[in-house]
């Protein structure tokens, strides 16, 4: 492929997403309003439902950050043309901070350890008080968001700057800062997972939990990246730039991380199941209560089994329609995974899908992607002056 022809009309997508941004904002507004009304019907449940959706998008944003960091850390060449979408996705960190506000109001509903009268009679929670108390919790949340916005801002800014200047030094700088950013990322993600999700069941603990959330985060981020490029393709953008070779590789990574997620999920379950220590099994017992058993089986079959069997095929990874179906399915399964972790705490007797689960998710995702397209509007669709661009353009799988 000639490298000259790709430029201009295709990649400088300034203001191509104005209408979709507006549409998404409107739909998002409507659904958020509906959710807000539903809030008054079941306040307690609302917060859990909200946290589930929030975690879905937080993991997506952080997973996207991981993709960007990983690419610089490994000095990868093939993936340059698919870096812009994760870069813009991770720019939604400030949005995620704003959307954290409802969780602050719902602290009492979500986190049992905020009830000081209950803590006073609970030996374990008293031991955990130095960690699980509201002041320190907020300090940590601010710290996480500070680090995340710093990482996303640095990497986004320099990458966009390179579109103009073409300065190679920027790539080298980012490759250097990717190393320690990755360490910060790993630690903040782990503890955020502990704070936001694991502490809902404050007696329960699992050392692998951070890795579990991480695996899901990377999986969803790669899946959404693939979906977004397919959306751009439908809009006749980047058709000759992001080729089937890139989708094939994205498919391989999604496949690999799906197995990684399954491995981590299995290890966590298996060790707890085998040892049967009361403090730990409590978490899993909830998931075999009533119709939750069905969701557990759905996760095993749907999150692991179906993608494992179908996505192994090279042909399917390269067939964009099937690829899109499989990726959408994985996104759905990631949501089910988070739902399965969080919701049994509020609906212990069995699966009980509320209308607000759906409206919240739609509202949230519309606003999230509206912001995404709003940011995408301002930048090039590929890092057009990245020094490794030609490697990525000419990339072929073996």
């Amino acid at each position: 492929m000639s490298t000259k022809q790709l430029i201009e009309n295709d990649i400088d997508a300034f203001d191509k997403f104005g209408s979709i941004t507006r549409t998404l904002f409107v739909i998002g507004g409507i659904f958020s309003f509906i959710s807000f009304i539903l809030f008054f019907f079941d306040t307690h449940y609302f917060y859990f439902s909200y946290l589930t959706t929030y975690m879905f998008f937080l993991t997506l944003t952080l997973g996207a950050m991981f993709i960007v960091l990983l690419q610089y850390l490994t000095t990868a060449g093939w993936s340059v043309v698919i870096r812009r979408v994760p870069e813009v996705l991770m720019r939604n960190i400030p949005l995620m901070l704003v959307l954290f506000i409802p969780i602050i109001f719902g602290m009492h509903d979500l986190y049992h350890w905020t009830h000081l009268d209950a803590v006073a009679h609970d030996h374990l929670l008293q031991i955990k008080r130095p960690w699980l108390n509201q002041v320190f919790f907020f300090i940590r949340i601010i710290l996480y968001f500070f680090i995340w916005s710093w990482i996303s801002k640095t990497f986004f800014k320099k990458s966009v700057l390179q579109d103009e200047t073409g300065d190679h030094q920027l790539t080298l700088d980012l490759e250097r800062s990717a190393s320690y950013s990755m360490i910060l990322f790993a630690l903040t993600l782990t503890f955020a997972a502990v704070d936001l999700v694991m502490s809902i069941t404050p007696h329960w603990y699992s050392t692998i939990f951070g890795v579990y959330i991480f695996a899901g985060a990377v999986l969803i981020a790669f899946s959404v990246t693939s979906l977004m490029y397919m959306y751009l393709r439908r809009k006749n953008l980047l058709k000759d730039i992001v080729t089937v070779e890139h989708y094939h590789d994205l498919g391989k990574l999604i496949y690999g991380f799906n197995i990684f997620w399954s491995y981590i999920a299995f290890c966590q379950f298996f060790l707890i199941w085998y040892a049967s220590v009361p403090e730990e099994t409590d978490f899993y017992l909830k998931h075999f209560e009533g119709s939750w058993t069905f969701v557990t089986i759905l996760l095993c079959v749907g999150h692991f089994g179906i993608p494992f069997v179908f996505f192994i095929s090279r042909w399917l990874k390269r067939h964009l329609v099937y690829h899109a179906c499989m990726v959408l399915w994985i996104c759905f399964m990631h949501f089910v995974d988070l739902y399965w972790i969080i919701i049994p705490n509020v609906a212990p007797d069995g699966l009980d899908i509320h209308f607000m689960d759906i409206t919240l998710f739609i509202g949230f995702s519309c606003i999230y992607f509206a912001m995404f397209f709003k940011n995408l509007n301002k930048v090039c669709l590929i890092p057009k002056k990245d020094p490794r661009l030609s490697e990525s353009l000419n990339f072929v799988n073996f």
Partner: protein
Amino acid sequence: MNEILLAEFSTPGKLLKAAEKLSNCGYTTYETYSPFPIHGMDDAMRLKHSKLGWIVLCGGATGLIAGFSLQTWVSLHYPLIISGKPFFSYQAFIPVTFELMVLFSAFSAVFGMFALNKLPQHYNPIFKSDYFRKVTSHGFFIGIDSNEKGYDRDKLRDLFATLDVKHIEVIEDDE
């Protein structure tokens, strides 16, 4: 009596061009030889995809089923109560099932590859050429058997001459 026309080329690129040319002329059973796999040669020779994947899939499925049923049968046939778990504890069978699946898949990958390649095959007329010995170091060869349809020694010599051939040799197979 059969014979093999052996032509040597100096680089992978020239070998690839020669193979393309032969395919375009309608030759199908000729063979190229190189010290390492050459990117694009399968397409140049118009080869179909390898069937090995399907063989491995079958092997893996066999291992999976065999492993799981062995453990199930043993646990029911020779029941032991271990840490209060039921006799049929499928969770505990997953590690061994997985290992046997991988083991059987790997066996079918290796022996399937040998079978598809008809290896070991210690006799081949092409080994008679001393010149051919460098194929495993830095030689790039094309061999055409006289059974090939449209085989004509002189015509092929002329064809190869246009393709920047380095050396041509005829090997006789007296079997």
